[in-house]
């Protein structure tokens, strides 16, 4: 394609503007992009023929979405699974169009595609209006800091471009985005499938005076320069080549010049920039935001990865410092988040051990209201407070800036959530203030000391199923092999740690919560923990699992209810049946067996065999 006229002067040569296309599943995002590429003649030769062929094979008319949905499963199911990035040129300006999946199951892939976008097109099916993922995606746009949003009312063909109905949907969406403090740039009635108001103006909506999608895209302003802000460079690594030490990193904002005095955050030391180093580039004494460089410092200090370099001696140019952080969380783990869980907080190249000190409010997606809650559901949004052992240096999150982009990872380095840092959190009053400290001993070191890995085996089953017996025998067998094992037994903890608790659902839940925390501590110390606890409710076990984390293994001690009743080792069934014990599991309150236990130990046969079942499972995990 030849260039017809030059792009706006602020757009630098070859710099791409990423635009993400988001919205509810099936509202036409992929179709829109496919159509856009076709209408602007951006497809390589032969691609269209392939798409026509793929569509025909599945008995469809031309499916523009197949241009993006390159995975077999995507075409077969007609759903986008993962995001795609497609370079695209418009009047000589480079864009990258990101196709994001709309299905809730693939939210993590939507975020992967959207997180670095400078603007978004929110696609809404004009007939269906605002749906759940429309709201979820809008919320995410706010949390990841995308402020420029174009709304496309798609499939307007299906309602004949009816002005009244389109205006109604427009009102809904403006209200939604308004509440999220997102600027709506344009609301465009369109048909992606037919190409109306995509690249060319449609006659079917003669009442519409605004721009086509293509025109709206060309109005997107390039981001403001970050050069004028105070300098920040998180240390990525430190190298030594030919006797010279290089402090390597990418400048997140501001500029640095040879001779500048910098503070090395985290170390509290100062050093002067002796040289701005680049390889195979003319020497230049200054470097600015976005550049990956290496610095030579004087004195020749050795910062750590994660240390933040910033201008020394200028309070106004220094980052914030806090050990309790307020964050807006988007939660990506399949299980809920609860207070007390620990993670690593990654912030640029720094990593900090953090604990969830409080869940301050959870967003109700239906009306975007904030309300207190005990947990953050999967794919949920919340305001939470993180407690850190040491002070964290940070700049609060701001749209379009690299500041405060916190990400939570679990102990296996899996990303479980995004946590943009809003600011320092106030300390709660008196006794409630908690200051967790994290151990500096790495897992591998502990495993080396013990000679084996750690794990928690959470044994659930009816009263009388044989949990304690099996656990105690297993404890003996494993100890004899030199493994470090602890048993947490229901009755035993109730005689001490939990002697204040009864058997109401609330007390049982609290009992489980405490046992889970103790198990967590023991596992952190490198132990193998066998928990023998009825723990009848799936919900309560899920809580324990969340507290314990990846070391959790659910063991179902599977014994027929009649047998438990007959065994009745403590005479409890008999008493319960006489009504002398209220809320007795298996008699007057329910037992919910695990749906997918990691281990099933049959509890009605030979004890030695049951024990072997368990010890085999332990071996597999910790060896």
């Amino acid at each position: 394609m030849t260039q017809t006229h030059s792009p706006s002067s602020q757009v630098r040569h070859g710099v791409s503007t990423p635009i993400v296309i988001v919205g509810h599943v099936d509202h036409g995002k992929s179709t829109l992009i496919g159509r856009l590429l076709y209408d602007t003649d951006s497809l390589p030769d032969g691609r269209l023929v392939q798409i026509v062929e793929s569509s025909r094979k599945r008995g469809l008319a031309v499916e523009w979405s197949f241009l993006l949905d390159s995975l077999q499963i995507e075409r077969d199911q007609g759903v986008t699974v993962d995001s795609t990035r497609i370079p695209f040129q418009l009047d000589g300006r480079d864009f990258v169009i990101v196709d994001a999946p709309g299905h809730r199951q693939f939210l993590r892939n939507m975020i992967t595609g959207a997180a670095d976008a400078e603007a978004a097109v929110l696609v809404v099916d004009a007939a269906e209006g605002v749906r759940e993922q429309t709201r979820r995606h809008a919320m995410l746009l706010r949390l990841i800091g995308i402020n420029h949003v174009i709304v496309l009312l798609n499939k307007a063909d299906s309602i004949g471009f009816d002005e009244a109905r389109l205006k109604q949907v427009e009102g809904d969406i403006r209200q939604l985005l308004g509440r999220l403090e997102i600027n709506v740039n344009q609301v465009i009635p369109a048909s992606a499938r037919d190409g109306d108001n995509i690249a060319t103006r449609s006659e079917k909506a003669d009442w519409y005076r605004g721009p086509t999608l293509l025109e709206a895209l060309s109005l997107i302003q390039p981001p403001a320069s970050r050069h004028a802000l105070p300098f920040r460079m998180p240390v990525q690594d430190v190298y030594r080549f030919e006797g010279i030490r290089y402090v390597a990193g990418r400048i997140e904002r501001g500029t640095v010049r040879e001779g500048d005095l910098l503070e090395i955050g985290g170390q509290g030391q100062e050093a002067t920039v002796a040289e701005v180093c680049r390889w195979h580039a003319p020497h230049h004494p200054v470097a600015g935001a976005g550049e990956s460089i290496a610095l030579r410092l004087e004195p020749d200090l050795v910062p750590d990865r994660g240390d933040l370099l910033f201008p020394a001696g200028d309070e106004a140019a220094a980052p914030l410092k806090a050990a309790r952080l307020r964050t807006r969380l988007f939660w990506l783990r399949g299980e809920p988040l609860r207070v007390g869980e620990s993670f690593r907080l990654r912030l640029a190249t720094a990593e900090h051990d953090v604990t969830v000190a409080s869940i301050d409010a959870v967003v109700d997606l239906d009306d975007l209201s904030l309300s207190p809650a005990d947990e953050v559901p999967p794919d949920g949004f919340a305001e939470i407070t993180l407690a850190v052992a040491r002070n964290v240096l940070f700049d609060p999150f701001a749209p379009g800036m690299p500041d405060g982009r916190g990400v939570l990872v679990d102990r296996h380095q899996k990303i479980v959530g995004g946590a943009p840092l809003i600011g320092p959190a106030a300390l709660p009053e008196g006794a409630k203030a908690i200051h967790p400290t994290a151990s500096g001993v790495r897992d591998a070191v502990r495993a080396g000391l013990r000679g084996h890995g750690r794990a928690v085996f959470w044994m659930t089953g009816l009263p009388g199923a044989g949990k304690s017996t099996i656990a105690r025998h297993a404890e003996e067998a494993l100890s004899r092999e030199g493994l470090h094992v602890t048993v947490l037994d229901g009755d035993t903890v109730r005689s001490g740690l939990c002697s204040d608790l009864g058997f109401s659902p609330e007390d049982r839940r609290e009992n489980i919560r405490r046992v889970a925390h103790v198990a967590r501590i023991l596992a952190d110390a490198g132990q193998i923990v066998l928990v023998a606890l009825v723990s009848p409710l799936i919900r309560d076990r899920a809580m324990a699992k969340a507290i314990i984390g990846e070391d959790w293994h659910e063991v179902f001690v599977d014994t027929a209810p009649e047998l438990c009743r007959r065994r009745d080792p403590k005479g409890l069934y008999a008493q319960a049946e006489e009504g002398r014990i209220a809320e007795f599991t298996g008699v007057s309150s329910a037992y919910e067996a695990p749906e997918k236990p990691d281990v099933v130990v049959p509890g009605d046969g030979d004890v030695a065999r049951s024990v072997r079942h368990l010890t085999d499972a332990v071996h597999k995990v910790v060896r």
Partner: protein, 272 residues
């Protein structure tokens, strides 16, 4: 302000800075790390970027998985630049093509051979990070890739279940036997590669430049790559040619065209 200012970065500067950042992350987080050097234009750019990242050094091995079917010019190029760039070269061999699944079409079988050679080399050296020069614009399934793409034991790409990746935070392996493919060139387009080669004066094998009206746009094995009609005999002429071209780069690669999902299946099995 009379003093000099920081450069205003153009598109190539931004791509370069991001690739350097990625390579530095890989070197820090994935040990041992190696870089796949296919001797083609993209992997030469990648070696060059590594030298940018590490002040003229490549502080990890470069692997060449030798199919034994490369062009003689490529072997000569390899031997020359191993010395000039002071590279720690690790060579891997591929099993004979007869050992591959005979039900595969011929080009796919040849690719499977390369995949097997790569897998052996990674397992043998227990590499946890492997830097590879694929780009999103080459092929539609590559457009779905992550910068850090974890591979399970058996090197499978779990394309339906990729980890989240945002704000420059990358997944690092968490189980024995896993490794991570690192893709520092994912965001580059073919034209960017050529413009960067021009700007940095990065050496290439002559096969990329026209002789008797033909040149290679992409270099695979001799038996499965075909040249295109072209008179572009310098980097500048190649750039000019690409600016008006409408065919895709891999058009000359047979394996991409054998069936609708041929390439996806190759990649899931561990192909680049």
């Amino acid at each position: 302000m009379a003093l000099e200012d920081a450069h205003i970065m153009d598109g190539l500067d931004q791509l370069e800075a991001q690739s350097i950042f990625i390579l530095r992350e890989a070197y820090r987080k994935l040990k041992p790390l190696a870089l796949l050097w296919s001797l083609g234009k993209d992997s030469n750019v990648m070696v060059w970027l590594a030298r940018k990242a590490f002040m003229g050094h490549v502080p990890f091995p470069v692997m060449h998985v030798d199919t034994g079917k490369k062009f003689p010019e490529m072997y000569a190029f390899r031997d020359e630049y191993v010395k000039k760039w002071n590279l720690d070269l690790v060579l891997g061999e591929c099993p004979p093509v007869e050992d591959m699944d005979p039900s595969l079409p011929p080009a796919a079988r040849s690719a499977a051979r390369k995949t097997a050679g790569l897998a052996n080399l990674i397992d043998q050296h227990k590499f946890r990070g492997v830097v590879a020069g694929i780009r999103r614009d080459e092929q539609a399934t590559r457009a779905k890739e992550r910068v850090f793409s974890p591979r399970g034991a058996g090197h499978q790409w779990d394309v339906r279940n990729q980890p989240p990746e945002f704000w420059d935070q990358y997944a690092t392996p968490y189980e024995e036997g896993m490794h991570v493919r690192v893709h520092p060139l994912l965001a580059w387009r073919e034209l960017d590669i050529w413009r960067y080669i021009e700007r940095e004066k990065i050496p290439l094998v002559d096969l990329y430049f026209a002789k008797d009206g033909k040149r290679y746009r992409s270099l695979g094995d001799q038996d499965i790559t075909s040249p295109i009609e072209s008179n572009a005999s310098t980097v500048a002429e190649v750039i000019a040619e690409l600016e008006t071209s409408r065919t895709s780069e891999r058009a000359g690669r047979a394996m991409d065209h054998e069936s609708e999902d041929a390439f996806e299946r190759l990649r899931v099995a561990g192909y680049l």
